[in-house]
Symmetry: C2
Subunit: 227 residues, 2 copies
Amino acid sequence: MNISVLGTGVVGQTISGKLAQSGHKVMVGTRDVGRTLAHTEPGPYGLPAFSVWQKQYPGIRLGSFADSARYGELVINATNGAGSLEALTLASASNLNGKILIDISNPLDFSQGMPPTLSICNSDSLGEQIQRAFPELKVVKTLNTVTASLMVDPRQLADGEHHIFVSGNDAKAKAQVFSWLMSWFGWKHIIDLGDITTARGVEMYLPIWLRLWGALGTGVFNIQVVK
Amino acid sequence: MNISVLGTGVVGQTISGKLAQSGHKVMVGTRDVGRTLAHTEPGPYGLPAFSVWQKQYPGIRLGSFADSARYGELVINATNGAGSLEALTLASASNLNGKILIDISNPLDFSQGMPPTLSICNSDSLGEQIQRAFPELKVVKTLNTVTASLMVDPRQLADGEHHIFVSGNDAKAKAQVFSWLMSWFGWKHIIDLGDITTARGVEMYLPIWLRLWGALGTGVFNIQVVK
């Protein structure tokens, strides 16, 4: 399957790498290919520069947001939340319409220091904003509640006995995403929260996630819903 | 121990009943004692009227917010979030100062319909607003992330293998609350998230809690933090 992964950060690298290892053809999308490739220094938290990282994955291509979106039968939004709407606008509705978008982004606002606040919340969400901006796109919000390494390898933790969530308006698209999350990444427990307005819930979970990260001293944790 | 429980709704009834059963002396606080006692019809979700409910607990007294706060060596805020600051103002700083306040309230705003939004969030929280309004009160936010019956009986679910959180500025007060939560209610797993600003995290957890309630078809669930 040809997959578009928008974003070259830790989520984009982690998702792309895993998909490529599983035999998918991936084109990562970025704002400016030349600038992305020009960076060679590691980023925050030791994140390798894309150009360095890419050497491990010679099959992964890099293109503009538009090239990547055009290439993908599925599009994955792994850009940071502050830039997601602009990235998708650059990707262009004509390359997105009719496709499924797995939206992993979080609307984190670091402008007031740490911990970040949310740039959108409460009566709206980034997932909804994306769905409104691209009504022909089938937005499925998921995976934004766990750290990148867990997104693609949930069984590294408690043999996968913990949960993620999906939110979206299109039932078929959600069923398809369920199946991909299980078969590609090994997720065992996925809860359908409902339509895209339920993205508010998973995005507003970030503040407690950030505080748990502090309290637990690791980002490699998740929640199991017990009932 | 003399305990003040502010609020006559489901949380106030559940907490008060459990404390009374355990031999504590409880005075419930309300805005208007006469009006509270005059109601005899069940409220939403079949909640018994306070006057009917109180017959099961003849030892539980009812007083004004101020009477109750004066009476309690510990004060528990079980009012609904929209009225909490006013209730505490009526309780009066002079009756509260120096005491621990266990704050269970959630700033839910039902004015725009269901599901509710939050009246305070993101860069502030109700827990912080209470702490700022009453600087001499030792506010410990906890228990607001579970349904009332679980607050006082966590072991009804998965033998208590799930988590609650505490947020507060006073380390000794938090340690005391830890001990009460364990010995009074049977909580096994309590995570200290940090100072009172971490109340934002547990209050902003409500939107996903509400959606999980819908998806699971029960409010009797909780999260286990897996790491």
